[in-house]
Symmetry: C2
Subunit: 590 residues, 2 copies
């Protein structure tokens, strides 16, 4: 299987030329030392490290998977040494607080590091990824005392983190959480219950694991209002931050999955485990959901990283595999056949992958910038605007980018023909690994309900809001060959939004019925905006990446507007057909 | 994992009520003993056998896979006993010639047996499936002497068959076949070369394996015109039909695949192996392609069987899994949550699966009837018409049904949420297994080129032909709520066909650029016709399957026209955008 270097030029183009990272940080007044050159150098170094140490493990680690004996979980061969090397090289602490040994670099860089980790090995990416998420949550919500106990070693990567939400009887419906926490009398709690699907719940990479656990206090209100958040360490923590005795939490088993086999997905039993309350009682879900934007953005980025990897492998194969002749006649008459990249349908699949990988990257990085505005801006209005943008954009990013990753990675198999189905070339693994992204961190259906029900109707009162303004401003200010099509798509989006807003008042089923169509349609319109921007940036480029690079961007924009954006037609028609065709059929008639 | 009984009622509805199997056989003057009751009884018995003996092996056989030691391939535990039982129970010879110990039943029944085999275990289905294909080919093209040598034991299943086409350097492009056959002087040949992706190439189920091998004679013309077909047995065959010495053919390795793990996919080395010419020299591809309609129909049927199985598992889960409340408020206030089938988006996914499984079944069985017309009708005009229908319909069936199987089986995972990603529930296996169907027997791209280039433009001179007439006649003769939409879809189909016909004369890339969009659009229109027929048959039903059954069909028709058929809008727009956006970009600009 290929281990192709990550597309640093593409990352550079989006971050520097499309989204003006230098101006972004100057305006925010943070990371001003992070000019484009430094930014790219950091990522180039990261990519080199991962290419050397992570990429070669991707296939064998999938084949080997994780193992459990008793309650000891062993990660694939090479992960332990890799993890140590990764942390010692400073990658675990890229945006960590220098006070705790972190590098103090930007959140955006950390996001892209997550992309690179996934690009080289999705299963691996979740070990540093989850720790970073836990660290961020604790940084916001834990008491100073708790922070002092766990943040230093979470920052260096000596310890790792988990999020323990799901239980056998509840995934989406966290109001049904049954894990119980009772006060121990000394300010701590005793946590008991079973959690499932816990990523990195147990493994052999770190000396301690910090679990963030949703549980109910005695006499807590029913449902979502009665859930609190607890920190439960695998080993109790001594005052000198060394690990003490084993706590009452252990892996009962690991899941056998379709993919992501190098990531340990555990069933965790908490048996009178010592835990510490994070935040106020019964605020657990609120705290968890505060972290959701970052978590969902990360998952969207995992989707585009898988898309990118599958695309690059397929592109290399399409240039090299000789089969049949070009429709206009032989392009390489001296070879026994032409490379398959001459065939229009192979190009259709490659361009679809390319359009998704590169356009979705712009969409995701744009969201990353908004998160940095929220983190750093001192302008309350600007922060509010960024929050409103993200409220609407994050479910689109999570839902749309991961769904398009499924399509892209299946094209990645198809371009290889039968060779795509065998393990040798690695293309089938990208599909298997990517398949989790539309499921975890909230399924596509949940993203769609969040977008259509909660964000669009409840919060934005039926208005697309900032995203519509941003797109309209772009059209007004730039002259691209796609302005007319983009304007039409924006108008259609507004119209269908108004349609849903009206119909939702008449039938409570209309929101759910329209939701995934609406999410996908919104994704295609937003992606059209970004492809218009990419086209524009390529046209007025800095020239630093070479003429062919910019020509490729412009021609991919043309493809997107010609072949992909028209998908919004079908989604509109489906939405306008309403809820009846979904709701009329009785369960017994299925 | 569930082992749910196959939907015999659904099969009965299509075969008996929609496609009038009794009238069909009476008109053809064959199998007149096969009334609807007998037909269904045979399938019911087959389903019971497979449910008991095949279904329980599906998951474990996937986990275990096939093994190779030296050149000996071992199938998963239980397959050897199962295969013996299957043959002894007469299932291998259902439509076999009674002269050779076959049951003399109909081809259509044999097709549905293939569906049932796939429904219970796709990997298993290919062992009897390939043998049946080899038997049919030999029945048409082998000399009487060869037939007498191999057909008896291929019919009973004591021996099995393969098709050896692909080589490392050629899959789609069979003109590049390099395997060589030279005359041995005694009327036989010596075959040498390497074949890959050979389904059932080597295994432990039968005492002999009959390989049908594409190879080149000395001085054969280059390309597709110089390929001949040879029968190469694993063991030479004595005059008394016992097996003699080992021939020079052996498995070199087996492939490690994404799915279909219980099917042995082999690399086969032919080393001066004794072979017998089938048909005339240099007619190998022509002979192989004569069998293509049946082979591609079978693959389409594998797609709908996987769709059906994934649907039934998802439906059972959706009725049982409690999570969240219905949008209108609790449907089961006494339970901790409502079953997820109350949620509109879960219904959207279930109905999509159902619409594909059941509508595609009608499409496939209709094609099966046409194949029986070709086999049995004495009316030359009728045979010609059936051939013309199939020329156009088979690439649609192969391409569209297998592509929709990918969509359906991914919904089958999504409905289960995270539980769909783990192996326990079997849903991820349906996706993995189904993923091969768009690849083997000609990829979707190849089906689309066959449909758009060869069949539509070259053979049908730009006319949809019979399928358009059949749909128009239905609209004229039946009053359904969907006539208007169906007429519009038919008109759109005619228009876009005319568009492609025109644009193809100007640019040779237009055909390939439009091809997959055109194939999918054609599939959606044809499926709309069958859903209108299903609706009509349910409305005027025999009543034998219960009111809920027929109501379900009518409501699924409503869903199909509301939510799925509008997809043709996007395909039309994509086709009309032409080839430029695919062809302008240079390979170096990707």
């Amino acid at each position: 299987m290929a281990n192709l270097p990550a597309p640093i030029k593409d990352i550079q183009f989006i971050a520097d030329e499309v989204l003006d990272l230098t101006g972004h940080y100057q305006k925010l007044g943070v990371h001003e030392e992070l000019d484009a050159e430094t930014f790219v150098t950091v990522l180039d170094e990261a990519s080199k490290f991962l290419h050397e140490y992570v990429g070669p493990l991707n296939n064998p680690a999938d084949a080997q998977g994780c193992r459990i004996e008793g309650n000891i979980v062993t990660t694939p061969d090479g992960f332990k040494e890799l993890y140590k090397n990764y942390c010692e090289s400073g990658w675990s602490s890229l945006d960590g607080d220098p006070e705790y040994g972190g590098q103090g670099l930007s959140y955006w860089l950390q996001l892209i590091l997550g992309e690179l980790n996934t690009y080289y090995c999705p299963g691996w990416s979740n070990y540093p990824g989850l720790t970073h998420g836990a660290r961020e949550l604790l940084d916001h919500f834990a008491s100073e005392e708790l922070q002092a106990k766990v943040l230093p070693k979470l920052t260096t990567g000596e310890w790792s983190g988990t999020m323990c939400l799901t239980e056998p009887q509840c995934g989406t419906d966290l109001g049904m959480v049954a894990t119980a926490a009772k006060p121990a009398g000394d300010g701590s709690y005793r946590v008991s219950g079973t959690k499932i699907f816990i990523t990195s719940g147990e493994h052999d990479l770190t000396e301690n694991i910090i679990h963030l656990v949703l549980a109910r206090l005695p006499d807590a209100p029913e449902g979502t209002k009665g859930i609190s958040l607890f920190l439960v360490p695998k080993f109790l923590i001594n005052d000198d931050l060394s690990v003490g005795e084993r706590n009452g939490v252990a892996a009962a088993s690991i899941e056998h999955k379709m993919g992501l086999n190098s990531s340990a997905t555990c069933v965790m039993n908490f048996d009178d485990a010592k835990g510490y309350l994070i935040g106020e009682p019964n605020q657990g879900l609120r705290i968890m959901f505060t972290m959701m934007n970052g978590a969902r953005l990360n998952t969207g980025i995992q989707g585009l990283a898988a898309t990118q990897a599958s695309f690059q492998n397929a592109l290399a194969y399409a240039k090299e595999r000789l089969q049949m002749r070009a429709p206009e006649g032989p392009k390489y008459p001296n070879k026994p056949a032409d490379p398959i990249i001459v065939h229009p349908d192979v190009r259709r699949m490659l361009l679809t992958q390319k359009a998704f990988a590169e356009g979705n990257r712009a969409m995701a990085y744009f969201a990353g910038q908004q998160l940095e505005v929220i983190k750093h801006s001192k302008d309350a209005e600007e922060v509010k605007r960024a929050e409103q943008i993200l409220a609407f954009l994050i479910p689109i990013i999570k839902g749309f980018i991961t769904e398009t990753a499924l399509e892209a990675t299946t094209h990645g198999i198809q371009i290889y023909g039968g060779h795509g189905y065998i393990k040798e070339h690695g293309q089938e693994q990208w599909y298997r690994d990517a398949r989790i992204f539309t499921l975890y961190e909230g399924t596509t259906g949940i993203q769609a309900l969040d977008l259509t029900g909660r964000k669009l109707l409840q919060i934005q009162k039926g208005q697309i809001g900032h995203m519509a303004d941003i797109i309209q401003d772009f059209i007004n200010q730039h002259d691209t060959p796609y302005n007319k099509q983009l304007q039409k798509a924006l108008d259609d989006w507004q119209d269908i939004t108004a349609f849903i807003t009206r119909s939702a008042t008449k039938d409570p089923n209309e929101v759910g019925s329209a939701s995934v169509d609406y999410l996908m349609l919104s994704g295609y319109v937003v992606l059209a905006y970004f492809w218009a921007r990419l086209h524009n940036s390529a046209e007025h480029s800095k020239g630093q990446l070479g003429a062919e690079f910019y020509a490729g961007k412009q021609k991919t924009a043309a493809f997107y507007f010609a072949k992909i954006l028209p998908r919004i037609e079908s989604h509109q028609a489906s939405i306008r057909s309403g809820a009846d065709s979904l709701m009329d059929i009785q369960a017994s008639e299925f």
